[in-house]
Structures are given as C-alpha cells and as structure tokens.
C-alpha cells in the first residue's frame, strides 16, 4: 500500500456514490445506523492500472449474490474496451476501498456502477493523452483495444497500458464534467457475460466469513438470552472446574461467552454453565400486532395529496374500503453471520460478511476509541443478505473477546440465532379506500399505511399511487415495534404494493372491468404501460375469466426507479396453492448485465413467493417461536413456478436497480389470481395459512 509506484490511479468523489435520496439535505436515512460519517478527503481511489497493465477496481459495495462484481467489471471493461478476465476487483476492504454508506436499495449499479464507468473513462482519456505525447499527435486519434491504445488509422502504432504508464505514478481525479461515451458499443454491456466468480463458487474456493480461519483462532460460544430483554441474574460455572482442556469464560458487560479451541468444545462447555436470567414480562405477542399498529402511530407523513377525498367519494358509483395486513418476516440468508477479529498491536482487523463494511468500521472505532487507520474491516463473500446484514453486532463481540484473550476470536451465529438476533421486515397494516365510476375512473384514492418500527423510509417505499385520480391522499406512519425492524429486500415497497395492487384488482372487479384494462385506462406513465402490455402478451392474458382450474392475476410495481409488471398462473392442489407460471417484464433503464438482472428478478420472485405464501415470524412475550427451518417455511425446489423474465430495451435511460423488481408485485399478483380462481379475497399474508384457516 505504501509504494504506489508505477501506477495509474483514478480517484473519484465518494459523495457521488451515495444515492441521491440519501445525500445531505435529502429526506431519509437520519439514523446513525445507516449514515456513518463521511470522511473529509472525499476523493478516493476507485481504479488503478499497474505497470503490468492489470486493472483493479476498488469499491465498497459488496456482493451478497446480486452479481455486482460481474456488473462492475462489465461496466469498466466496456469503457476500457478490455476483456473482463483482465480486470480484478476488490470489494469491501476498508483499508483498500473507498468509503461507502453500504450496499442496500439496489443502488449499486446506479451510483457506483456509474462512478466506475466514469473512472474507466477517465483512465482511458489519460492513456490517450500519454499515447498522444509519445506519438506527437492529438489524443483524438486513438482508440483503446484489448489492453492497447491504438492509432485509429494506423494500427501499427499501438502502446500497451504498461508501456504508457512506465515508471510513472500518475494520479487523476475524475473530472466533474465527464461525459461517457454516449453510444455504448455493447462489447460487454447488455451481453450475457457469465459470472466472474462462477469458478470459485462451484469449486468451493470462495471464502465466506464462516470460512475465515486464522492461526491460533479461538472459537467463541456466546451465551445468549432466552428472550428479548432478558438480563443475566446469576452464573453458575462450577461444572467447568472439572474440565481439564483449555477454555476461557468471559463475562464482560452483557456479553457472556466461552472460548475454546474448537467449535464443538465451546458449544459443549457452554451447556455446562447454568445461567439464570431476569426476564422482561409483558412483551407483545404476534396477535397484538394489528392493534399496536393502529394505536401507536407516529411520524406520520403525507406523501401525496391532491383534491379532496370526500368530494371524490361523492362522485363515485362504487366505494370500497378494506384493510390489508402483513406479519413480520425474516430474511433468513443461507449463511448465518460469523465474524473473526484479530488485534495486531493496536490495529484491529475484522472479517465480517456485512453489507456495510465502513459502517461497521465506524462502530468499532467508536467502541474502542480508535483512529480510522487503526481499524480494518474486510468483507469476505457473503452468503445472502437481503438487507439484514447491514447489522453485524457480532463484529463487536468478536473484537471485545479478542482484545481480552489477546488471540484471534471467531463468533458465529447458529441458524436460530441468525433469525432471532437479526432484524425483521416490519409488520404493517394498510387501510385503503377508493371510489370508482362504472366507466372505470378512480374518483378518489386514500391509502394509509403503518409499518412497525421507527425507520420511516421503510414504510414510504412504494406507497404512492401511479394511477390517475383527481383526489388522492397517501400517508405513511411508523409505529411501535416489539421486534427489531430493519432492511429487507425493497424495504416496505413489496408490502405497500401488495395492498395497492390487490385493491386495484378489487376496484376493477367491482365494476366488472378486466383488471388489465382497468390499469391501462388509469395509468399515464408509458414505462408502466409498456411493461404491462408486454407481460399480458407473454402470459396470454384472458380478459374474460372463464371458470377454469387456473387462476390468473397480475400486478405492476416500481422500486428504485425501475418498473415491473408481473402476471401469474396458480392452481390449487389439495390444500396447497401451486404457482405454475410467472411472467415478468421489467424496465430498469440501460441493462448492464442482462443475465445477472434476470437472475435477480427470478430470485426476487422466489423470495417474494415465500413471504406471500408461507412466511410469518411467530413471537410471544419476547420469544421467537419459529426460528430456523423447522417451523419457518421457505420456498423449496418443489414450490417453484416456470418463470419468464423479459427486459425491455431502454438504452437511453440511465441504469437503475433490478434486485427488488421480482418481490415487489408478487404478493398482489398471487392474491389476485387466487380471487380469480376461487372468488376468495385474501388481504392478509401469508396466503397459504389464510387459506388453511378459512
């Protein structure tokens, strides 16, 4: 790191890596959890080319399965006109990579992807300059081809990257007024490039945080409370006195842990310790939720207000009013969190598969009162995140324990701990009321959502309506939450969309109008109309519902600036809802990594299918009743539909995220299809359970 010789380094403004809606002065992320302090030197290294011509990308967006490694490499490959195989990438190492607020909200392509394209363009222009100096002609005469800067009309004049950089150490800032090559040659962008990390993943070489083993590392088993709010009353460790093997029992503040030389030893020894707990009584249980949501609203904000709802309702032929409810659900990534901490004198190094490496670094700096250069967080591969791995409390636990024993320490969650001590997608309740005329115009639209928890950005996502009406009122509130709430794929968008798109279906049915026609009639935005028409075509939408054994349902959605329409076919086999077919059409602007996007949409559909049909966190008086896979049902291979995803070509609009598009419309589409099939309207998730209990 110290010797920066023989390098071309491109520096970019980290402020630009922050999604617009999160920048200073914008609404939103006011909690310290997400807004770590932005460092003062805002120009940081994003790309380098070394003397061997090797290009390296540095970014602190992390890849927990979205494939951004591949996406970033493709973006840089396109601008440098260089084969993707020749590009390295380092993500989420706080010593090497620029500051970043964290990876959430599918903003990676839009923010950092664009920055990296700018960095690559800057590098290319600099290389042209160097070539121009050598050849004594203007830099406009050059093009970049596979690691060479070539004179356009005389290919015999060509310099390799390494030749041009030579012995120099060049630092260039991305200029403010940079213009990207307006036309994309589509060498790599938009082509189906295979995943860069495929080989490592199929051979077991990828290292996830659970796989980090460092010499002399001790395995910790943290003894955790049996319920939220429980505190230690008494510890009886007399049984341990008989033990001759090595162990250390540590009780520091609220942290009680036993450290041993193997995972099993730590586990076994922990069972020999008797802890009695002070429990906290009178905590809420799951059946209390709807009432809590209605009674404890706070931070209400009005997101849309036009005309007057009462006036609009007066003009209606039909008025409908319904309440929708969703329970807490868990992200349940396949890799339960783990962290390894190690102190090198007064420098702390932590491996943690977090979505927020710089945020975790700030937390550790604060906890131990350390300077920025004294903490390094390294993000290995991440076995799924879906939002929840922004929180990584075991990084602190491992660091505290490691400091005490003066050896590297590993703390790892069990499957159950991963659920219990994570955050949940908030329970939410949506009250919707609308008026409609017989000829299909919406005279009034009132939507009041309340999402548990104090992070008001969650509930806001996707709450506004895209359907025309003269009288609109949309408000969103926070409410008390007995469980810790946090990020979940699409935040509250999937939840709000469930209520809105199902209710739109109800409205259309109330006037005997085809739900597809009704939508088309009331939408103005062309991008919605395009995805909707495309998906209707794909699923061969039937405008008149004949009594068949297949139900059809559709819904549209928007999230982080991208559009989706999704249609499903469902059947009921015995008592089980079977989703037989899903078609989705999406518009996410310029599509950089086609196959990666399709993969993400498919994954979102499957995850959404779980939340729609099966998943609900059960809790009673501070205890999660169904952690782990025994009673928390997630989709398996026999539950999956045939899926078609179509990306609408839209090269002229900047890229926006696609990670959420599958999950956002799925619940409404399924509930609409169920109505189509059975005439039963389910307004509460998970649907499979509602079906069984009815």
């Amino acid at each position: 790191m110290k010797k920066n010789n023989n390098l071309l380094e491109i520096f970019g403004d980290i402020n630009l890596s922050i999604p617009k809606r999160m920048r200073a002065g914008q609404t939103g992320y006011r909690t310290v959890t997400y807004m770590t302090e932005i460092p003062e030197d805002n120009f940081q290294r994003m790309l380098s080319i070394n003397k061997d011509g090797i290009v390296t990308i540095y970014a602190s967006k992390v890849d927990y399965g979205q494939g951004i490694k591949t996406g970033f490499i493709i973006a840089v490959a396109e601008e440098l006109c260089l084969e993707p195989e020749k590009i390295n990438i380092i993500l989420g190492d706080t010593d090497l990579c620029p500051w970043d607020p964290g990876t959430f909200g599918s903003d990676s392509t839009a923010s950092v992807g664009l920055l990296l394209r700018n960095a690559a363009t800057t590098a290319r222009e600099k290389l042209y300059e160097l070539a121009a100096e050598r050849a004594g002609i203007s830099k406009d005469n050059f093009i970049s081809i596979n690691g060479y800067i070539e004179q356009k009309d005389n290919p015999s004049v060509a310099y390799s990257f390494s030749e041009l950089i030579g012995q120099q150490n060049i630092k260039v800032n991305i200029p403010e007024n940079i213009s990207l090559s307006s036309k994309i040659d589509n060498l790599y962008i938009g082509n189906n490039i295979k995943r860069i990390d495929g080989l490592e993943k199929v051979t077991g070489k990828s290292k996830y945080s659970r796989d980090i083993l460092v010499p002399e590392m001790l395995f910790a088993k943290v003894i955790r409370p049996p319920a939220y709010g429980a505190t230690i009353n008494k510890i009886d460790s007399t049984n341990l006195q008989k033990i001759s093997s090595y162990y250390q029992l540590i009780h520091e503040g609220d942290l009680l842990a036993i450290l041993a030389e193997s995972d099993e030893a730590a586990q076994h020894l922990s069972s020999m310790i008797d802890v009695s707990w002070h429990t906290l009584d009178g905590q809420a249980s799951r059946w209390d939720m709807p009432k809590i949501l209605l009674d404890s609203k706070f931070d209400t904000s009005v997101l849309q207000e036009e005309g007057n709802i009462d006036v609009g309702l007066n003009e209606a032929d039909i008025i409908l009013e319904e309440t929708y409810y969703v329970p807490y659900i868990s992200t349940t990534p396949m890799e339960p969190r783990a962290a390894v901490a190690k102190w090198d004198d007064d420098k702390l190094i932590v491996w943690a598969g977090t979505q927020r490496p710089h945020g975790i670094k700030s937390e550790l700096m604060k906890l131990f009162n350390l300077q920025a250069k004294q903490v390094r967080v390294i993000t290995p591969e991440i076995g799924g995140g879906f939002g929840a791995k922004s929180l990584y409390p075991i990084a602190s636990e491992a660091s505290i324990l490691s400091k005490i024993v003066n050896k590297p320490v590993r703390v790892a969650y069990s499957r159950n701990e991963e659920t219990i001590f994570s955050s949940f997608r908030p329970a939410a309740l949506m009250e919707v009321k609308a008026g409609v005329t017989i000829d299909g115009s919406i005279t009034a639209w009132s939507f009041k959502a309340v999402h548990a928890g104090e992070r008001f950005l969650i509930g806001r996502r996707g709450a506004t309506t895209p359907y025309s009406s003269k009288n609109i009122f949309v408000e969103v509130s926070c409410a008390d939450s007995p469980l810790k709430t946090g990020s979940y794929r699409s935040l509250g968008a999937a939840v709000n969309h469930f209520a809105r798109e199902a209710f739109i279906d109800e409205l259309s049915r109330s006037i005997k109008c085809d739900p597809l026609e009704f939508r088309l009639q009331n939408l103005k935005d062309e991008r919605y109309i395009n995805v909707l028409r495309s998906v209707a075509n794909k699923i061969q939408w039937q405008s008149s519902t004949s009594p068949t054994k297949i139900g059809q349902g559709l819904a549209i959605g928007i999230d982080v600036g991208s559009y989706v329409a999704l249609a499903v076919h469902i059947e009921i086999i015995g008592t089980e809802i079977k989703i037989s077919k899903v078609a989705a059409a999406i518009d996410c602007g310029l599509a950089i990594d086609h196959d990666g996007i399709v993969n993400q949409v498919e994954g979102g559909i499957i995850q959404g299918l779980g939340g729609t049909l099966y998943e609900a966190i059960e809790f009673e008086n501070g205890t999660i009743i169904n952690p782990g896979f025994t009673r928390y049902r997630v989709p398996k291979i026999n539950n999956i539909p045939e899926i078609h995803v179509e990306i609408l070509d839209n090269k002229t609009t900047p890229s926006s995220g696609a990670g959420e598009l599958g999950i956002v419309p799925i619940a409404a589409a399924i509930s609409n299809a169920l109505f189509d099939l059975t005439g039963q309207r389910v307004r509460e998730l998970p649907i499979q359970r509602q079906l069984q209990s009815s």
Partner: protein, 150 residues
C-alpha cells in the same frame, strides 16, 4: 488407527465423536462444504460418502470410518471441472453461491444413480436443499442441460 479417505487423501482419526462437518471445515480446512442450519434441514453440508450423498452436519466422523469421502473441493479432476460444476457456470446457476456446493454434490450423486434423471427425480433429489437466493429454476436447467449432453 481408524481411517477415512477425503478427496483421495487418507486421514487417521483420533476423535470418533467429532462432528463430520466441523472435522471437514475446521480440522481439514475444507471450507467449501457449508453450514446452513446444522440440523439436517438445508442440504448445504452435503458430501458424498462412497458416492452417496449425506448431510455431514448430522454425522460424526466415527459413522463414516473406512469411507471414501468426496467434498466439493475433490470433485474436479485437477483443473478439469466435473460436468456438474461446468453446468452451474454455464447456466449462471448461483447468486451468493453459499448453497451451491450442496446442490452440486446432490446432483452429482443423482447422475451417479440415474443415467437420465427426469425433472421429477431431480426435484425429489433436491427437495431438501434450500437456496434462499431462489436460483432453483436455474438449478433445474443445470440438470436438464446435463441430461441433454448424455
């Protein structure tokens, strides 16, 4: 002394009660085999013992003594990938990749048993493997593509 063979290497066993998954991951440092639940419910820890898939989290080392074990690290022949591994790359059948070793081992075992497994047989064989990223339809395409190749 009791022995097991892992990816063609012999190991003497001193602790028969050692959990097999922990033994592989921490003692042999073969971390390609994953822990997803430790309760036999997700398949991430699947390995082959004498060609048959087992969930290593539910086994002790003692239970596979004299066995011939293959983990994800031992599937390729040097640089040459196993066809199942090839197919996963070809179909981009992965996201975070954490569940993938378990699926690969189970599909390998499936093709050891059945020359031409049907879609239903594949679903049956993989019904206890969880992929939370939801790459199932791609994984089924992997099976399909391997079937076509035969």
């Amino acid at each position: 002394m009791p022995k097991i063979t892992v990816n063609n290497i012999n190991h003497n066993i001193t602790n028969l009660k050692r959990n097999l998954l922990s033994f592989l991951r921490f003692d042999l440092e073969l971390t390609g085999t994953k822990l997803g639940c430790g309760e036999g419910l997700c398949g991430a820890c699947t390995i082959l013992v004498d060609g048959q898939p087992i969930k290593s989290c539910m086994s002790t080392v003692g239970a596979v003594i004299e066995g011939d074990l293959t983990t994800i690290e031992g599937l390729a022949d040097g640089e040459i990938l196993h066809p199942v591994q090839e197919a996963f790359i070809e179909q981009s059948a992965m996201q975070c990749g954490y569940c993938i070793p378990g699926f690969i081992m189970n599909i390998t075992a499936l093709f050891n048993r059945e020359k031409n497994p049907t879609r239903e047989q594949a679903i049956e064989a993989l019904s206890e493997n969880i992929c939370r990223c939801g790459t199932y339809s791609r994984i089924l395409k992997v099976v399909e593509s391997l079937r076509e190749k035969k």
